[in-house]
């Protein structure tokens, strides 16, 4: 039982990263009503970007954040303009399979370039350190990641709720046609949503690199967590993504500790299933 408090704290910290991962998906879904199956692969690209930048130029991993954000942003925009834009003209199934195809493409492209090996960063201000606080031991990477996730989340929240561009993004999400009557270039807003979603994943990936293995198929894990989180929080709800991210952190870590590590991801699916059956609109959906 004395493990409970540290586990909860650690779980909440991880939950903040999940919240960030879910946010990216929520933005894209909110504006486009399209599910991005390649979401996890955006994270993977962010991770490789951070990993390679940090190792090749031997710089502090945290400093790779803006670069990973930029790469994620461009990847998101490119996905929209070169793929999704055309998919929208097709039937529903094409939209589903389209981003699924992008997922496979990015995953195996990474496999082809980097090989299947697991890689880890060995050096960085956060890496391998921890802080002891009574009986509670907190790892630096988790702490730092949580703080930076929170900041990134806050900035994006601010961008969407307090700026003119963010309002235009919301208007596009609510009613594309009405938004166009305001003179909003809704096509650009959609591109921007993909860019923001991608940037969010770039940041999340760069943060994750501080304490997690980098490998080509990591996307699927986080994609599933992100889906479950967004479903739990309510599709398109930013507040929902945040709360649900924390809950997802608790489910995974408490489940891993008290039920067994093999089952923790099964719990994610179980949560997803229960939400879909009992509250399909999610906690904060409408």
């Amino acid at each position: 039982m004395e493990m409970l408090v540290p586990t909860i704290i650690s779980a909440l910290l991880m939950g903040m990263l999940f919240a960030l991962v879910a946010l990216g998906l929520a933005i894209i879904f909110g504006v486009m009503n399209i599910v991005n199956f390649a979401h996890g692969e955006f994270l993977m690209v962010g991770m490789y970007t951070a990993f390679l930048t940090a190792t090749v130029f031997s710089i502090e991993p945290l400093l790779t954040l803006p670069i990973a954000a930029m790469v994620g942003f461009l990847l998101g925009i490119a996905s929209y303009y070169f793929l999704v834009r055309y998919l929208l003209k097709g039937p529903m199934l094409a939209q589903l399979l389209g981003t699924f195809g992008l997922m496979i493409f990015l995953r195996y492209l990474a496999m082809c370039i980097f090989g299947p090996d697991y890689k880890t960063l060995e050096q960085g201000v956060l890496i391998g350190k921890s802080i002891k606080w009574g009986s509670v031991v907190l790892s630096y990477p988790r702490l730092g990641t949580a703080v930076l996730s929170l900041i990134a989340f806050g900035i994006i929240y601010w961008l969407i709720n307090r700026t003119r561009l963010g309002k235009a993004l919301q208007a596009t999400a609510l009613d594309v046609e009405a938004a166009s009557y305001m003179g909003i270039d809704t096509e650009r807003m959609r591109g921007l949503a993909w860019g923001l979603g991608g940037a969010t994943m770039g940041i999340a990936g760069a943060l994750l690199t501080n304490f997690y293995y980098v490998f080509p198929t990591i996307g699927i894990l986080f994609c599933m967590i992100a889906f479950a989180t967004v479903a739990l929080g309510g599709f398109g709800s930013i507040k929902g993504a945040f709360i649900a991210g924390l809950i997802m952190g608790l489910i995974i870590d408490l489940g891993g500790t008290y039920i067994g590590p093999h089952h923790k991801f099964a719990l994610v699916y179980l949560t997803y299933f229960l939400v879909v059956v009992f509250r399909p609109q999610g906690l904060f959906g409408w």
Partner: protein, 234 residues
């Protein structure tokens, strides 16, 4: 100011507007009347740039606008207040209005427009923080019109502003439209309340299955057989 000539408009290949011509001069209030499904909304959406004519021409201030996008049309100074209002429900009254001024970059100008709209519809001012979706039907319509005015358009297109309102509010709404016209706004109005719409208009057009079949002053049109029979039940 706006000149539409012999346009044809199609929905996925099927012509719905066959031959529509009309024009609007600066300062005029023009009414377009017609039965349900005669193509009024389609015509307004075509001017708004959401649809494009497959034949004919459209000019605004002597510039061809038949291929312009909605964003370009708004920037040229035409706004469209859609049928059924299309308020951004989860956003506040003021946020809705500010979105109407999306193309206005000057903050001061935006504040001025806001004052103008609040002056026209004081109820919106008292409700500025309330969510658009929780307003009553009449208030939502005022918000929709106010939002359309926020960019201070040269031409305001209103698509059935009295739709779904109770009779007392219908009169109020049409009075508000008359006030707008008195203040110098140029308005293209589509209305179900044919008598009122034609009485207050400088000129009007009768639309029937995608064709403009009559043109004239409001009074002239009120005396045509088709208007008498089809709309006034005489």
């Amino acid at each position: 100011m706006l000149k539409v000539e012999e346009i044809e408009v199609r929905y996925s290949g099927v012509p719905v507007i066959h031959d529509v011509s009309f024009h609007v001069n600066g300062g005029e209030l023009i009414s377009i009347v017609g039965a349900n499904g005669s193509g009024k909304t389609t015509v307004l959406k075509t001017v708004a740039g959401t649809l494009h004519p497959t034949k004919g021409s459209m000019e605004f201030e002597n510039e061809d606008i038949s291929a312009s996008t909605t964003v370009e049309i708004v920037r040229k100074g035409i706004t469209y207040v859609p049928e059924e209002r299309r308020i951004f429900g989860p956003l506040s009254v003021e946020e809705n209005l500010k979105l109407g001024a999306y193309i206005v970059n000057d903050r001061e100008e935006m504040e001025k427009s806001l004052d103008y709209v609040y002056g026209l519809f004081p109820i919106l001012k008292t409700r500025w923080k309330q969510l658009g979706g929780t307003l009553s039907g009449g208030e939502q319509q005022m918000l929709a019109i106010g939002r359309g005015l926020m960019s201070r358009p040269k031409l305001l297109m209103l698509d059935e502003p009295s739709l779904g309102l109770m009779p007392k509010l219908v009169d109020e709404m049409l009075e508000a439209v008359a006030t707008l016209k008195k203040e110098g706004n140029t308005i293209l109005l589509v209305e179900q309340n044919v008598r009122e719409a034609l009485e207050m208009a400088d000129r009007g057009y009768v639309l029937q299955t995608g064709r403009t079949i009559h043109e004239g002053t409001g009074q002239e049109l009120l005396e045509t057989d088709i208007v008498k029979r089809a709309f006034l039940g005489l």
